[in-house]
């Protein structure tokens, strides 16, 4: 009797080891790409069922993201302005710096957690991630190219038709497939492994210092009305009293044509904010300290200035230097080293 059960257990162990082994082997060859919503995140807004993410689609999107053929003269790619080490922003540039060194009028935001965004751009003018890449491709100050020419150039390469075949079953390069591949890549770019995330998920490595915890508490109280939830934005459009002498960009009003929306901009996510300087829609502040000085002391009044800033005697948010230091310490816990080093998102080696 004992012998038999021993044999059975032995057999089971053998099967298990074999099975585990074959599994790991498979994943070494083809690391699967699956969209996993982080436990502390809200539901995605993007309708994933209309663009199922596959390994081949994701890889094609990645290739396209780093493809200079997307610009008129082959000089820049999406990755030129959205650099991984800076959480996919244009590090060191206040406003984006495009083709022929032409300057745009806005700061490149981080590309991260796009699946959870209801709208895109500082003014929310684009409501579907699939439609987003058309804007930089066709902008005169960014890539200055026509979508049709881009598709034509890709069709003429030897590399791309087989990649489209792999990703979508047919080698034809169409607007829809091109845009959906880019979306697949950007949808997977989820940043959710900062020290703060580990702290809220009670994972290993999620220890916050006393200063950081105090910063978090002050932040929740003084900044959380707008920078709310786990994405640190409620995606609303607000006027935060940035002086309009510097930049005449009317923000949300360009989209709604509503004078009430003048100089309102989308509340940005603050994930990886310590890596994404300079700050604000026009990159006017170089440091987080300058941002906080704006909130505490330098606000300009506007008829539609957000009412949050009118609570005290003075416009803005009352903050002393100690509180600012703590807030900044907390904001640094939102940096996600895994995200900016994730090999899956880096420029593919040819």
């Amino acid at each position: 009797m004992k012998k038999i059960s021993f044999l059975i257990v032995g057999f089971l162990i053998f099967v298990l080891v074999f099975w585990l082994n074959s599994c790991t082997k498979k994943s070494e060859v083809q690391p699967e790409i699956t969209f996993v919503k982080p436990a502390n995140f809200p539901e995605p807004v993007y309708k994933l069922e209309r663009n199922p993410i596959t390994k081949a689609g994701f890889e094609l999107g990645r290739m396209l993201f780093y493809e200079p053929l997307l610009s008129r003269d082959g000089s820049i790619s999406c990755g030129s302005c959205h650099i991984q080490g800076s959480a996919f922003t244009h590090h060191g540039h206040d406003v984006s710096h495009g083709i022929d060194d032409r300057l745009g009028n806005r700061n490149a935001p981080a590309i991260q957690n796009m699946a959870f965004y209801p709208h895109f751009m500082w003014d929310g003018g684009i409501f579907d991630l699939d439609l987003q890449p058309i804007a930089p491709i066709e902008s005169h100050v960014e890539m200055d190219e026509q979508l049709e020419n881009v598709l034509e150039k890709l069709r003429k390469t030897r590399k791309y038709p087989p990649l489209f075949q792999k990703a979508f079953g047919t080698p034809e390069i169409t607007t829809s497939k091109f845009l959906k591949a880019l979306s697949q890549f950007m949808l997977m770019m989820i940043s959710s492994n900062s020290r703060y995330d580990k702290y809220v998920r009670k994972e290993k490595g999620g220890e916050l210092t006393q200063e950081e915890l105090e910063g978090l508490a002050i932040f929740r109280q003084k900044c959380g009305t707008c920078h709310s939830g786990e994405l640190f934005t409620d995606f609303s459009f607000r006027n935060i009293g940035l002086s309009d002498f510097v930049n005449k960009d009317e923000g949300r009003a360009l989209i709604t044509l509503n004078p009430e929306d003048k100089y309102k901009f989308r509340v940005p996510s603050l994930r990886n904010v310590a890596l994404t300087q300079p700050y604000m829609h026009d990159g006017r502040f170089r440091t987080l300290q300058e941002v906080l000085n704006h909130y505490s002391d330098n606000m300009q009044d506007f008829p539609n200035l957000d009412s949050t800033f009118r609570r005290g005697g003075k416009l803005g948010i009352p903050l002393n230097e100690n509180e600012k230091t703590k807030i900044i310490a907390f904001l640094r816990t939102l940096s996600d080293e895994t995200f900016i080093r994730d090999k899956r998102f880096s420029e593919p080696t040819p």
Binding site: I134, A135, E148, T174, L254, L257
Partner: protein, 274 residues
């Protein structure tokens, strides 16, 4: 009794026979609404009573400004045809978006399939409905494929996702000179009402009656309905547009006035049944 009855029957049989024979001779075969056939609409761009000529001919608007036209494009979509009996046929969405371009002769005749019938009226949207403006990219094919139109024929705003419904550009001494010395005016009119916040809605519908004429759609016979589209109506209407005061109108509150004007630019001219 017996004789009278059979006489009656005989009379009846003859009568029915006679009646059907007559009927056949007088009327054409009735359209069979289960059979689909083609109808063609021609959009003939004119300027008042002249044919529109790009770049070469000078026209004058109601405020007395002279201009030439270099580009005139517009979307027409969501067609509904009405028969003499008052039945309506809504052309399926996926095959009812057309971009008419003055620079492209082929784009000016649009073809649709409708049930056989005698049609007396058509209505359509000038522009692209809001649903299609927000639809998944995979459903934006043909004239709505953003890549299909390039350069000045681009009918899409990428920074403020949405189609441009009507695009009219040209030159006028009334327009201010740009750095190259050119005096251009540009009207790019769109706006589907906004996605998450309401904004201008320039989606316009027009209904065109064929007068007392019938477009007789039958299998193998596709009538051609000839519509005239008067570019002067873009300028002249409830607001008389001045190029000097508005050389460039794109996504702005003023664009609503231009859309109200161009809503009336379509008229029935004639039709051919064949």
């Amino acid at each position: 009794m017996k004789i009278t009855f059979s006489k009656w029957v005989l009379f009846l049989v003859f009568g029915v026979f006679f009646y059907t024979a007559c009927n056949k001779k007088d009327k054409e075969p009735q359209p069979n609404s289960n059979v689909m056939a083609e109808i063609k609409l021609e959009f003939d761009n004119v300027a008042g009573n002249q044919n529109l000529q790009l770049n070469s001919t000078t026209y004058t608007n109601a405020v007395g400004e002279q201009f030439t036209v270099s580009l005139f494009n517009y979307y027409v979509s969501n067609f509904v045809f009405k028969t003499a009996q008052g039945n309506e046929y809504v052309v399926p969405q996926d095959s009812c978006y057309f971009l008419v371009q003055e620079s492209n002769r082929n784009s000016q005749v649009v073809k649709m399939r409708v049930p056989e019938g005698d049609y007396t009226e058509v209505s359509f949207v000038i522009g692209v409905d809001s649903l299609r403006n927000t639809m998944d990219v995979s459903r934006r094919t043909g004239s709505l494929d953003v890549a299909n139109l390039t350069g000045e024929n681009k009918m899409y705003w990428s920074w403020n996702s949405g189609y441009i419904f009507v695009k009219l550009e040209g030159n006028s001494p009334a327009a201010p000179a740009d750095p190259t010395g050119a005096r251009r005016f540009r009207y790019h009119i769109g706006g589907f009402g906004g996605y998450s916040s309401r904004t201008i809605n320039n989606i316009k519908t027009t209904t065109i009656s064929f007068g007392n004429q019938h477009a007789k759609v039958r299998k193998g016979k596709s009538p051609l309905v000839h519509l005239e589209v008067d570019v002067l109506k873009v300028f002249n209407g409830s607001t008389n547009l001045s190029i000097a005061s508005h050389p460039t109108v794109m996504f702005s509150p003023f664009s609503v006035n231009i859309a109200n004007n161009y809503q009336k630019m379509f008229s029935f001219h004639h039709l051919h049944n064949e």
